[in-house]
């Protein structure tokens, strides 16, 4: 059953499980719970967008499928865009389908420092990842869809002898359209929109779209319903009553707000916000690269992931995004545009030490995030390494786009990147992997969610998204989020509620 909240009238129905959020976590939980034969409702704030309607243009895509029309930012010393999907399927619809299992070295402190080894057992997570990888056709990106901008990183890998590899992705019959970020036009990307949500729907789950969850209702320590408003004219109200449990999977940005509005009180709620800031360089090659043909993100270098805390990824960005960062104005800006067919973009994805916060204010969600001095050192090392990779692949110059550095860096000048300002305002960054704002803890005093995934001091209000992660993951988190959500949903389905 689907309820389109852009046209719906008031709604009040009861389900066994009510899930807030339809992204990687919510959809995976729906897939598991729908299999139990119980009734499930999934609430999604954004619209359901048919893949046939995906546009090659960024502006309409941002308006339709991205939170804040793509304009959501974290405040700090610098403004950093925070990229999130806001549509059925969540960010899985607009990400690059990158799949990484949680590395052992990241999980180890979850066990030893946070005491979560039993709550998030790695052996169980691996079983879930095995299943997900089978169901979502996860495989290494094959050379025939690399495109030149991914192939060049393979060249750099060979020439520098560093650890790098084709990215494993959840795609089936990828056509190399380089359009992951505005929604895969061929549905090759196995996003939640085309996989687990239709699966759950077939099993009887109700999908409510354009439905903003505003509050969780209570009977003592028991969550009884989620209420909110549809987007339809007049903003009709909906209530999804929960006979057994409410699962919150609204992301590390929205989950703390919903919990706070619903009366959950914890000094950790909205705190410990962590992310993977990304910063890109552009390499200019002597021959055409044509970054708009190939897997959007098909190759990455994890050489410095563990000790350096950064990973380098290829990425194809649409012209609209590329242009904004090009140097110059007027004729010089236009000349730079004409050089983009010779460009590849590779980005540093950093496991930041920084912790920020997410709060609900009268003007909306207030995200605060500032890189620490240590992070800036690592960022500059990552940028230098990226330039080294570019030159090893044959680039004739690198455009850093960093205030205080030359606009163009030649081979042999990579060291300049380590002299870039130790100030986040000099860089153009984005935040796209978000964690920790309702973190799991053994003791109520240390976090928001218990080891049974229930919010401390509640019986049946569960958090199953990356809000509960005690740290960032150092790798792209979708797979970890799905594995954890699958584990959580299995446990919740077995619990006496």
């Amino acid at each position: 059953m689907r309820v389109d909240g852009s046209k719906a009238s008031a709604f009040d129905e009861a389900f066994d499980y009510v899930i807030v959020g339809s992204g990687a976590a919510g959809a995976t939980a729906a897939r598991v719970l729908a299999d139990t034969g119980r009734s499930v409702a999934v609430l999604e704030e954004g619209p359901a967008v048919d893949p046939k309607e995906f546009s090659t243009e960024v502006f309409p895509s941002f308006q339709r499928m991205f939170r804040g029309q793509g304009g959501q930012v974290a405040r700090g010393r610098a403004f950093i865009p925070v990229v999130q999907g806001r549509c059925l399927g969540g960010s899985t619809v607009i990400n690059s389908a990158i799949v990484w299992r949680l590395p052992d070295d990241v999980w180890e402190p979850w066990k030893t420092e946070y005491g979560l080894g039993d709550a998030l057992p790695l052996s169980e997570l691996h079983k879930h990842w095995d299943l997900i990888e089978k169901e979502l056709s996860i495989a290494e990106t094959p050379p025939q869809v690399w495109g030149e901008f991914n192939r060049l990183m393979d060249v750099a890998k060979t020439n520098l002898r560093v650890s790098a590899a084709p990215i494993r992705r959840n795609v089936r019959d990828c056509r190399a359209s380089a359009r992951c970020l505005t929604g895969c036009p061929t549905s090759a990307k196995q996003s939640m929109l085309v996989t687990y949500l239709p699966y759950a729907e077939k099993k009887g789950a109700a999908l409510l779209t354009c439905a903003k969850a505003e509050e969780i209702r209570w009977d003592g320590d028991r969550a009884t319903a989620v209420s909110g408003t549809f987007e339809a004219p007049g903003r009709p109200r909906f209530t999804a009553r929960a006979r057994k449990a409410v699962l919150v999977a609204a992301s590390a940005i929205q989950t703390p707000g919903l919990l706070a509005r619903s009366g959950v009180d914890s000094p950790h709620l909205g705190e410990h916000f962590q992310a993977h800031p990304g910063c890109a360089l552009m390499g200019i090659f002597p021959n055409k690269v044509g970054m708009w043909r190939g897997a959007t993100q098909g190759y990455d270098a994890d050489h410095h992931r563990r000790l350096g805390r950064f990973k380098i990824e290829t990425i194809a960005l649409p012209p609209e995004i590329v242009f904004a960062r090009l140097p110059g104005a007027g004729k010089r800006w236009m000349r730079a545009m004409l050089e983009t067919p010779y460009a590849a973009i590779w980005a540093v994805q950093m496991r930041a030490w920084a912790q920020g916060s997410v709060r609900e204010r009268f003007f909306g969600t207030d995200i605060k995030f500032d890189l620490t001095p240590r992070d800036l050192v690592q960022m500059r090392r990552g940028l230098r390494f990226t330039a080294e990779l570019f030159f090893a692949a044959g680039a004739k110059e690198v455009w850093p786009g960093i205030h205080g550095l030359p606009e163009r860096i030649k081979p042999g000048e990579e060291w300049l990147l380590e002299t870039a300002p130790a100030d986040s305002r000099a860089y153009s960054m984005i935040l796209s992997h978000l964690f920790g704002t309702a973190r799991m803890s053994v003791r109520a005093a240390d976090g928001v969610v218990g080891t049974d995934f229930a919010v401390h001091a509640t019986r049946n209000l569960f958090v199953v998204d990356s809000s509960l992660f005690p740290t960032n993951t150092s790798v792209n988190p979708q797979h970890t989020i799905m594995g954890v959500a699958m584990h959580a949903a299995n446990r919740i389905s077995e619990a006496k509620l």
Binding site: T56, E57, V58, F59, F62, Q63, G68, Q69, G71, A78, F79, S177, K288, G290, W292, R293, P318, P319, E320, I321, V322, F323, A324, R325, P327, G328, A329, G330, K331, R332, W333, M334, R335, M337, L338, T340, P341, H403, R425, S428
Partner: protein
Amino acid sequence: MNARSRAVIEALIPQGGQPPLPGAFESGFDDFYARFQNTALPSMRLGFRAALWAAAWLSPLLIGRVPPLSRLSSEDRERALEAMGASRSYHVRQLLLLLKAVISFHYGAHPAVRRALEFPS
């Protein structure tokens, strides 16, 4: 859009500036701007207006000229906008970035521009 704002857009992507790329207005920026005004979030519209204002009135001062930008020669207009991008003030640089980002939403999607870049149709 008033004449001073049009001068900013024209200076950023001038007609005949770099064939085969079209100028901003030649490529239909007016239609995009109308759509942007009708559908963009208030914060984006406000930010874009602030960026236009800064480019029109502030950028000439950065190269020692009297504002507005529309009074300057085309070379000086470009120099003034470049000066915004190189400014020591983070907020001034951000305003130019916002200006370029919104214009790029239109310009980067234009068929003639995409053809020039060999963007797959």
